[in-house]
């Protein structure tokens, strides 16, 4: 029986058989010897290909964003396997595949639920020997998978995760985040708002009732305080409410000048549409501190004109940046629409992972992590970036966007002007501020 196991499923059965028979007596006693087995290494890196496990929401309220992230991942895998020119700009050592191995992947539906995501990724890790796992649209999933990654010693790369915690108090040695988060979004947005809209404004907040919503609200409040902005009302709405009328009525009656809508996904779409119905958008300036991919497409340019939003990426950046141009072109050719920031983050994540592995020269996770932590600067679709060693957060520019008037749009997807590209280093908190402790390599 044992023999068969070994032949059949190789590395996993080593765990299985030893773990099963010895009842988990395996203590992590091995020293830092370079090739000591850890996580899915070396089992997941012995063949001609390596496997990557992807979980994103394919159904449920975040499905549209999840699909966007997935496409970014998939395009990157395709580029890695074909040694595409674009990916080699981000990962200069890449030739074909990663360390010469083809990258294969599996996609599972997380339904935006942490538990489901853990279940799917656990399967990819044990069954497919995933050498790396990836994907999220909400921080709840990102935080959960962070912890799974640290426990299983498999590198994890979130897709979209806006919470400060992901590389803050819940950061892990095995997780790396490219996308922006509440704190940086607010920090980048505030000076632009002061400059464009003015000082001493009264603000009404619509805050979805969960940690992410509250952190973003507090960040915006804190960063705009210096410009004399005060809070007229903070309407905390239940997550996933289809009808925001009661909250919007309070906002309409609050006498505010600015309406800050913190909802994400379907919440953002519904609340913006309904704010328009209540005449709020006609008398207040709408600000979306953490933009939802496809928000403009779903509510229409009419409603988005003049709206300020911060984002990770906007495709018209391709007019200024060659890598962005190549990315948008390649993405559009394959998927027939302009990539949103989820796709961009997906692509960046895989490209930089390939880069780190190539620089490490091995899939051995501690070596790969150290390559990540070398703070090597790379060009990208958003300009030059690098991972901060102390909290594994990508230091990257934040886009501040303003919705275009329908008449000013040059094409159907030309929803925003890029008002500002705020350099990442200037808006990031010191790595210790949110209590990040990365944990061990092994």
């Amino acid at each position: 029986m044992d023999e068969h196991h070994r032949n059949d499923t190789d590395g996993m059965s080593r765990r299985a058989v030893l773990g099963g028979l010895a009842g988990g007596l395996l203590l992590p006693t091995f020293a830092a010897a370079e090739d000591a087995p850890i996580g899915t290494y070396p089992a997941g890196a012995t063949g001609d290909s390596v496997f990557v496990g992807i979980t994103v929401p394919l159904t449920g309220a975040y499905a549209a964003q999840g699909q966007d992230v997935r496409k970014g991942f998939e395009l990157a895998v395709e580029h890695l396997n074909t040694g595409n020119e674009l990916i080699r700009k981000l990962s200069p050592l890449t030739k074909r595949g990663v360390l010469g191995k083809t990258v294969s992947f599996g996609v599972a539906d997380s339904e935006a639920k942490p538990n489901t995501a853990i279940q799917a990724q656990s399967r990819f890790i044990t069954q497919n020997k995933a050498i790396m796992i990836a994907g999220s649209v909400s921080s709840a999933v990102a935080v959960a998978l962070n912890k799974l990654a640290q426990r299983e010693k498999v590198i994890y790369l979130p897709g979209i995760s806006g919470s400060n915690d992901t590389t803050g108090k819940d950061c892990v040695r095995y997780g790396f985040r490219t996308c922006f988060y509440g704190y940086t979004a607010a920090a980048a947005l505030a000076p632009v708002l002061a400059r464009e809209i003015g000082h001493n404004k009264k603000v009404a907040y619509l805050t979805p009732d969960y940690t992410f919503g509250h952190t973003v609200q507090q960040s915006v409040e804190a960063f705009t305080k210096g410009f004399g902005w005060t809070t007229a009302t903070n309407q905390v709405a239940p997550l996933g409410a289809p009808d925001f009328s009661t909250f919007l009525l309070n906002i309409a009656n609050s006498g505010a000048d600015i309406f800050v809508d913190i909802g994400f996904g379907a919440d953002a779409v519904n609340s913006v549409k309904q704010a328009k119905q209540f005449g709020i958008l006609d008398k207040m300036k709408l600000v979306v501190p953490y933009n939802t991919p496809f928000l403009a497409q779903q509510v229409g340019a009419q409603l988005m004109q003049g709206v300020y939003a911060s984002s990770d990426f906007w495709w018209t950046y391709s007019e200024q940046n060659e890598i962005a141009r190549m990315f948008v072109a390649a993405f559009e050719e394959k998927y027939h629409y302009k990539p949103e920031f989820g796709a961009d983050d997906g692509y960046l994540q895989f490209a930089f992972w390939a880069d780190a592995v190539e620089r490490a020269g091995t899939f051995y996770p501690p070596a790969v992590i150290k390559a990540y932590e070398a703070e090597v600067r790379r060009p990208s679709t958003v300009g030059e970036v690098y991972f901060r060693a102390a909290d594994h957060q990508l230091v990257r520019p934040i886009f501040v966007l303003r919705g275009k008037a329908p008449a000013a749009m040059k094409g159907p997807d030309d929803y925003y002007d890029i008002v500002e590209l705020t350099p990442g280093a200037s808006v990031m908190q010191p790595p210790t501020l949110f209590g990040c402790k990365l944990g061990p390599y092994t």
Partner: protein, 611 residues
């Protein structure tokens, strides 16, 4: 190693089979695409489901809010472990389980006041409220939507030997032990008297109550047991994956539990485990093996609709059905033959009585009894006294208020005015359970049996009420070991002549047999006074003769009050007869006096005229 007897072997066969499956699962799992993680999850769901099955499959209470207690157990355990308040995982699990049980008592006290869809909705409401509290006011403790990461794994130090449970197969082993113990415990509970009463509540709550079981307390016990299992499972989920997810509290969790239980087969304890295995495996197969992308859920929905449509009793139920078809039970035909033969009574058969007829004074004294339904006066100012050992007949035209009168006597309906003294004690408004426990019991006009149980099990429910009282939480003692219960059941079986049919389900009995069982149920509570509501209704002439004989026999040891339309039988049986008409006592006297009473004749003739 040989087991003591084939009986013991048969009794613990399910446990042995489960142990074997749990032991072999890791060896088979890789062949069918089950990982250690997946099996561990299935075990957590299965354990969660055992409790739910006791509540739903056995007691018949469909809850949509099990997530509330699952979450409480999970988050308390996870909080204690992540904040370093408790070092021992086992202690934290125990505290989480207790907290969930406490929450279960709280929710149960409110939710169990209703049944059916309303019960389901209240439990759902509690789950939603608990989720809100976890997500919003208590977010600082629970991590809000991010949940609680970093839950410790168990570690056991046995002497110098350290057992460190980490993820993978060692975790599976730990959970398998938990599940096995949970299963063994649940089997004990289900086989205990409490388990029997729970099944009775599922089948016919009103009769269970009328037989003297405090069904409210038993339901609360079932709800609490389910909550404790849920709490333990919730705690184990956090421990298993080192992370307590917030969606433990959501409606999806409650819904998935119900789905898995129904697919697997309710009322089998093992069904939820089977359902979880199918459900989680399908997810995997549709997404990973078939690579359906987002369409996986569409296919899952279709498969689910088909499963519910064609597998009526779930997978376990289907397997049981197939097994019984392959191996038909011993021929029940012999019983029918026995039934046709003349009654083998002749010998003196005495039915049980809990209060011997020694004391003096009347058995029942009713004064000024009235019942008003809105504007309708069903009974008005009834005075009614029955002496000990008497066999009293109550007659009256349709709508005379006989049924209402009986319902007040047994406590099923509270009177608007008046007093009922039973054996000199005031039982007015005491409720049917209490009245039955005092020795006053009734057989119903329309059979009130436990339809899915056998004849023997039916009587056992009644006997257990008399042996154990209104409520007792003897979860560890098998029902069969309740002192004197088995003998009592045999005694009543013989008395109502159903010994040969004892192990058949009630549903296959002939009408006359059901009628006798109906009387037997009331008799098995050993009443000192028995009310019989139209015991002869719908019987053939032959059956009537037999039943009259039976009534005479049981009347020897106790007081009987019989409502009957069959005048001939009544005049033959009863020592005295009371006539009710339009909710009042019209006349009372010996059969001869009543037959000659002009008032009575007019009442009946008047009834004819009016019709």
């Amino acid at each position: 190693m040989r087991l003591a007897s084939s009986d013991v072997r048969r009794r613990i066969l399910p446990e042995l089979a489960l142990a074997l499956v749990l032991l072999l699962a890791p060896l088979i799992a890789p062949w069918v695409g089950f990982t250690a993680d997946l099996l561990s999850r299935i075990l957590v769901w299965g354990l969660f489901g055992i409790g739910f099955d006791i509540l739903f499959g056995y007691t018949g209470l469909l809850s949509f809010g099990q997530a509330a207690v699952f979450g409480v157990g999970g988050f308390i355990t996870a909080y204690l472990l992540t904040n370093g308040l408790i070092d021992s995982v086992l202690v934290a699990l125990l505290l989480g389980t207790l907290a969930a049980a406490a929450a279960g008592v709280l929710i149960g006290l409110l939710a169990l006041r209703r049944t059916g869809i309303y019960f389901a909705m209240i439990t759902l409401a509690f789950a939603e409220m608990f989720f809100f509290i976890e997500n919003s006011p208590l977010a600082a403790f629970t991590g809000g939507e991010n949940g609680l990461p970093g839950v410790a794994s168990p570690r056991f130090a046995l002497g110098g030997f350290v057992l460190d449970i980490r993820s993978g197969w060692s975790m599976y082993g730990f959970l398998a032990v938990c599940f096995f113990l949970g299963y063994v415990l649940a089997r004990r509970i289900v086989a205990s008297s409490v388990g029997r009463v729970l099944i009775a509540i599922r089948d016919n709550p009103l009769r269970a109550r009328a037989l003297g079981h405090a069904i409210g307390a038993y339901k609360l016990a079932a709800f609490t047991i389910a909550a404790a299992y849920a709490g333990l499972a919730g705690g184990l989920l956090g421990v298993m994956q080192g992370y307590m997810p917030p969606e433990a509290f959501t409606f999806d969790t409650s819904g998935q539990l119900v789905m898995q239980t129904v697919i697997g087969g309710a009322g089998s304890l093992i069904g939820p485990l089977v359902g979880a295995a199918i459900w989680l495996w399908l997810r995997d197969v549709l997404q990973n093996t078939l690579g359906l992308g987002p369409a996986w859920k569409l296919v899952l929905g279709l498969v689910f609709v088909l499963l519910v449509t064609f597998l009526r009793r779930g997978v376990v139920g289907g397997v049981q059905l197939a097994w019984h078809r392959l191996r038909p039970p011993p021929e029940p035909v012999a019983a029918a033959v026995v039934d046709a033969s003349p009654r083998a009574e002749v010998v003196e058969l005495h039915a049980p009585v809990r209060h011997p007829l020694r004391e003096n004074g009347p058995a029942l004294e009713v004064t000024g009894l009235s019942k008003r339904y809105g504007g309708l006066l069903a009974n008005s100012d009834i005075a009614f006294t029955v002496e000990r050992g008497e066999l009293r007949g109550v007659i009256g035209p349709n709508g005379a208020g006989k049924s209402t009168f009986f319902k007040m006597l047994t406590g099923e309906v509270a009177p608007s005015a008046g007093q009922i003294l039973f054996n000199g004690q005031d039982i007015t408004g005491h409720g049917v359970t209490d009245v039955c426990q005092r020795g006053l019991s009734k057989s119903y006009q329309i059979n009130q049996l436990f339809g899915r149980l056998t004849v023997r099990q039916n009587l056992e429910i009644a006997v257990l009420a008399e042996r154990r009282g209104r409520f007792r939480l003897d979860l560890w003692r098998p029902a069969a070991r309740v002192p004197g219960a088995a003998a009592r059941v045999e005694q009543v079986l013989a008395l109502v002549d159903l010994a040969a049919r004892a192990d058949l389900p009630v549903s296959v009995l002939a009408y006359g047999e059901k009628r006798r069982l109906e009387i037997g149920l009331a008799l098995a509570t050993a009443p000192s006074m028995l009310l019989l509501d139209e015991p002869l209704a719908g019987m053939s002439p032959q059956e009537r003769v037999e039943t009259v004989k039976l009534l005479r026999q049981i009347g020897r040891d106790r007081t009987l009050v019989v409502v009957e339309h069959d005048m001939d039988a009544m005049f033959e049986l009863a020592g005295r007869i009371t006539v009710l008409c339009e909710g009042r006592v019209l006349a009372e006297g010996t059969p001869a006096e009543i037959q000659q009473s002009r008032a009575v004749q007019e009442a009946y003739l008047g009834g004819v005229h009016a019709a």
